[in-house]
Assembly symmetry: C2
Homo-oligomer: 336 residues x 2
DNA sequence: CTGAAAGCGCTTACAG
DNA sequence: CTGAAAGCGCTTACAG
């Protein structure tokens, strides 16, 4: 491998000068500079970021951990963070935790060992609380993404109360009196918040308590069993006529169950989903969707991290971004 | 930050011993070992991967560059590579090129500067050929992913000829005599191969040349215009009765156009797609899909890279994996 | 079983 | 405008 030493020899200068030419850190005689540049080209020299980072105690890289970068909402957040990173001149190290606390811990460890300048983290359900002790204060800058918590860190996520309230009213206006919320694993902060919002907003919208069904479970099998019981068991008149699925993954499991039960959307059951699927304009049923500004959330996370890196003492900021509700035919049917 | 020096002082040993305890690289007296371990715990010491890598000339990390990790097929390949990386003890540095040659070049540069032990690359259309000069031979190990080329590197991708032939015959059997291939940007190797396979296979299946329509374009607007012209212009009797979309992105643009033209699937138009959408069982139209074994392709790429890293002199391997064709209602209609 | 020391490839005060 | 040298935090022959 070519190092600065070889370049310096070829150009007949010291490695100091090569370094300063490379980084533009001090004026260099134009002739000398040109000789160095020529030597770099001739040797195909490439700076060693490891050595540079070691010396500078700064890697110009940040870590990003999400549960699954292939999921539409996270994919979009990743794109947002990428844009912010490009603006800051950071290399982005992206890791997937696959919703597994152990893999999350390993990813954090690996990124910290690589001395990232900061970390953006969407924590998994059941995330090890001890994981965050190395962050904040004079530790590595950290921004919590998507899944917020009562913790003294910068955070960006979506506002959940407003849209849940809006959807519930939308459904009530169309005559629905029995509404089911498929919440999923409510240890995930976003899902817990949506559940809480539902339980607060439903009575205010006029639903009686027995007609608010919340299905929560830590695993899909139990969740599906819960959905089945709510939709299939009991008398038809007692069955929910509308449901809200709290994430894309949950929506997929829910729709599959609804299909198996032979229920039609929206005639038998109105459906609204959080986050939702791609290309909602191309496929049926076309689903009413609460869409978060995922790209913007990613960008914001990057910006907060940049601010935190520049000023470790800044007051932690908690940013909630407003989703938009896209109404489609899955909730248009009036039952009364 | 805690370094080995502090740990060594606390344990009353040399940094050599700390290092050997950490890495298990030589026997250490059990008492001593325990003192070191205690000191590590007490100080919260964490190894510095930069310094370690610099010294060992080995980072235990690999780079992966795809055009968009949010696209279903790439998302699945990423998961496959992640699994292989976990098995090898590699940290994965993932970058998106967003189908842009410049961003691709910057990503390659950044990863090389970080001294990744190897790189897996799905090249963009119009990729700079000079980009690959630093690879192969005694350079950084490289595996080409998805988009293969006549180059002396390890490569893994999908077999295109077989499934295209199968789909064309499937359509011909159902009475289709005019078939359109929406190929997209044929500079992308996979798309070029699918186009070539179509042009070879269609005549053999009995299609006359004038009834084989290929729509290719480097940008979406031109592509859509081409689709429009083929489906909308001319007499109805001359319009294709079936189409094959060569990727998920192309399929989305195509379906949107088909919808705008008011054509029904499958009655007016049979549709088959390469790669396809998620949850094909949940939405209508349910599309006949050529599904590549994307996870397996990712795993294989990781394995080939591991082999290459272990033996730089090995003969380059080119692996083609077989996709499966999932038949659904979008091509079931018989027109004759 | 253990330690002193060289060296990985850089950056950056310090000195001239 | 330029160079000699220290030092970032490790690993690893070498020596005992």
């Amino acid at each position: 491998m070519t190092t600065m030493v070889k370049v310096a020899e070829l150009a007949g200068v010291s490695i100091s000068t090569v370094s300063h030419v490379l980084n533009g850190t001090r004026p260099v005689n134009e002739d000398t500079r040109q000789r160095v540049l020529d030597a770099i080209k001739e040797t195909g020299y490439r700076q060693d970021a490891l050595a540079r980072s070691l010396r500078r105690s700064k890697t110009d890289s940040i870590g990003l951990i999400v549960s699954d970068s292939g999921e539409p909402a996270f994919a979009e957040m990743v794109r947002g963070v990428e844009q912010a990173a490009a603006e800051q001149g950071w290399t982005l190290l992206l890791a997937n935790s696959t919703e597994d606390p152990e893999r999350e811990a390993r990813a954090v460890q690996a990124l910290l060992e690589r001395r990232v300048d900061g970390l953006i983290l969407a924590r998994v359900a059941g995330s090890d609380p001890g994981l965050l002790t190395d962050f904040g204060g004079k530790g590595t800058p950290l921004v919590l993404l998507d899944r917020l918590a009562e913790l003294p860190f910068d955070q960006v996520g979506v506002e959940n109360e407003g849209p849940i309230t809006e959807i519930v009213h939308h459904l009530v206006e169309r005559g629905h009196e029995r509404i089911m919320l498929v919440a999923g694993d409510t240890r995930v902060a976003t899902l817990g918040e949506r559940r809480d919002a539902f339980l607060r907003t439903a009575p205010a919208a006029g639903l009686v308590p027995e007609h608010q069904v919340v299905v929560a479970a830590e695993d899909t099998a139990t969740l599906v069993a819960g959905i089945r019981e709510a939709l299939d068991g009991g008398k038809q008149a007692e069955r929910p006529t509308a449901l809200i699925a709290c994430s894309t993954v949950i929506a997929a499991a829910t729709l599959r169950t609804v299909k198996e039960l032979g229920l039609r959307i929206p005639e038998d059951l109105a459906v609204a989903v959080f986050d939702g699927f791609e290309h909602p304009d191309l496929f049926e049923p076309s689903l009413t969707t609460i869409r978060q500004p995922a790209f913007g959330i990613g960008v914001k996370a990057g910006e907060l991290l940049a601010r935190r890196i520049a000023d470790k003492g800044a007051e932690p900021a908690v940013v909630r971004m407003e989703p938009s509700v896209e109404y489609r035919s899955s909730t248009e049917h009036r039952i009364r």
